[in-house]
């Protein structure tokens, strides 16, 4: 439920472009880093894990479009760098199937990529902290990592929607304040303008609060579902092939 299932054209163009630039920057960094580990050997693995994420996304568990992302599972098994590459491939393919906007693939990759990267580091950190080596505790650790990663990625998504309501110049504080020093004749007009602006800001604040509340309420069952399944999947893999869970991170 941490996808940005925001349609094309709702987010401002500058934010969409920024999302694509950031994603491409991260991708190039990831590809450069992973080349030293023998990328051609890892490529079929990326393909298989990406395909599995898509299979997970096509299976609706509850009929209001709840589905598992398996991004944390991908992060744990592939590592943060390969996980990010895999997330981009998945987002591009599902956008082609009409599952989410094509223009928000960049932002979507950042949000789900955050999930995969944080999931990996949290899982490794918790395993190191609790010295876990049993399937049950590994499952529990993976579930906890998934919940925290989902909280972080959902907050990131809400942040993106919040930023999208702002003017980029306002964020960068490059507006001059010359309106304040305008002549007295404009005072009445500027007062009306400021009233309208404050009304707009109040509406905007209410709108973003409503959005955050709705996403958190709808997202919560999704988090429980995703973390339970991720925990069980990692636990199962640890029982069958423990070497896959604690493989060298890339």
């Amino acid at each position: 439920m941490s996808h940005i299932h925001i349609p094309d054209g709702v987010l401002p163009f500058w934010l969409v472009l920024l999302g694509w630039i950031a994603t491409m920057g991260f991708l190039l960094f990831c590809i450069k880093r992973v080349k030293s580990y023998g990328l051609e050997h890892k490529l079929p693995l990326i393909g298989v894990i990406s395909a599995l994420m898509i299979v997970g996304m096509t299976l609706e568990i509850v009929p209001i479009a709840y589905h598992v992302n398996l991004s944390v599972v991908a992060g744990i098994l592939l590592g943060p760098i390969l996980g990010f590459i895999s997330v981009f491939i998945v987002n591009l393919i599902i956008a082609m199937f009409g599952h989410g906007g094509i223009t928000v693939v960049g932002l979507n990759t950042l949000v789900i990529g955050v999930e995969a990267v944080f999931g990996f580091y949290l899982f490794r950190f918790l395993c190191y902290l609790f010295k876990t080596n049993k399937a049950l505790s590994i499952s529990f650790t993976a579930a906890i990592s998934t919940v925290f990663s989902l909280i972080i990625s959902t907050s990131f998504m809400i942040g993106i929607v919040y930023v999208s309501k702002k003017d980029p110049f306002e964020i960068l504080s490059v507006y001059s304040h010359k309106e304040i020093h305008d002549g007295e004749s404009d005072q009445k007009e500027s007062k009306t303008k400021s009233e309208v602006l404050s009304d707009g800001k109040r509406m905007e604040k209410m709108s973003i609060l409503n959005f955050a509340k709705t996403v958190l309420v709808i997202g919560f069952p999704g988090w429980v579902l995703e973390s339970t399944i991720s925990g069980l999947v990692i636990g199962y893999i640890f029982r069958v092939r423990p070497d896959l869970v604690f493989t060298r991170a890339t």
């Binding site: 094309d8 298989v48 990406s50 959005f211 999947v233 069958v240």
Partner: protein, 276 residues
Amino acid sequence: MDIGIIDYLANSGRSFFHRASPACKMVFVLLFVLSIMITGDLVVLISIYITLLTLSLLTDLPFLRVVSIASYPAIFAVLFAIASWNGDPIRSAVIVFKALGAALTMVILILTTPYHRIFSCIRPFLPQVIVDGLFLTYRALFILLELMDNFIRALKIRGGLSPRSYRKNLRNFAQGIGLLLVRGFDLAERFYCVMRVRGYSGRLGNELIERKFIWSDIFIFIITLCVCSLSFVVRFRDDFNRFSLYFLYFSLFVFVVSGFYHIGKVLGVRGVLWKS
């Protein structure tokens, strides 16, 4: 989302849209999505959606299935519209129609173009590794889907998925995904060995893209240009607002005519309500 059906329809179709070059269809997608992105006018958005419905009728694809695949994002658009509700129903309708229009554009592309042609077309704009990853993902996808289908069938036969046993269902479902992952790893190893045997050294071969324009390309290009320019004009010139209504009437008229033509043409064979 039935990916098998999507792939079958893309490869088996014989309509003018199937015959058009992938590059032309990519331009169609780019300009249609751009038109949907820039406009905030509900009438223009409805007109674009009706135009896309007409195009999907003319592609000889199962109409209801196309519409149902493309309607999936509407669920999220409605949720998003509710979540960011500010008392304006028009704004909510705009969000929903933007989602529907963009999704239908993508679905028309994917249902009329085999995936390898799309990936070859976007190859110049993405790193080589990503394009190779796309090819390998698509290949693995069908193998895993079949494995998943078999697994779910086996679970059902053995009583592994039963109503109201949520805990058991969840555990079995998760173990199924785990099993797929373990098999997937073996599959990846085999993939790599097979690719090495066939001379793979970190780069998959390119598919040659035909650079010949046919009449289908010109037809698609004209429609795309008309829709895009109208969308731009209505967006940036207030005095052209009335044209959005003409656009709506015209697109509705063409849709009705195409609907009758389509029913007349294929009703005897499989019907417009053909589903599978």
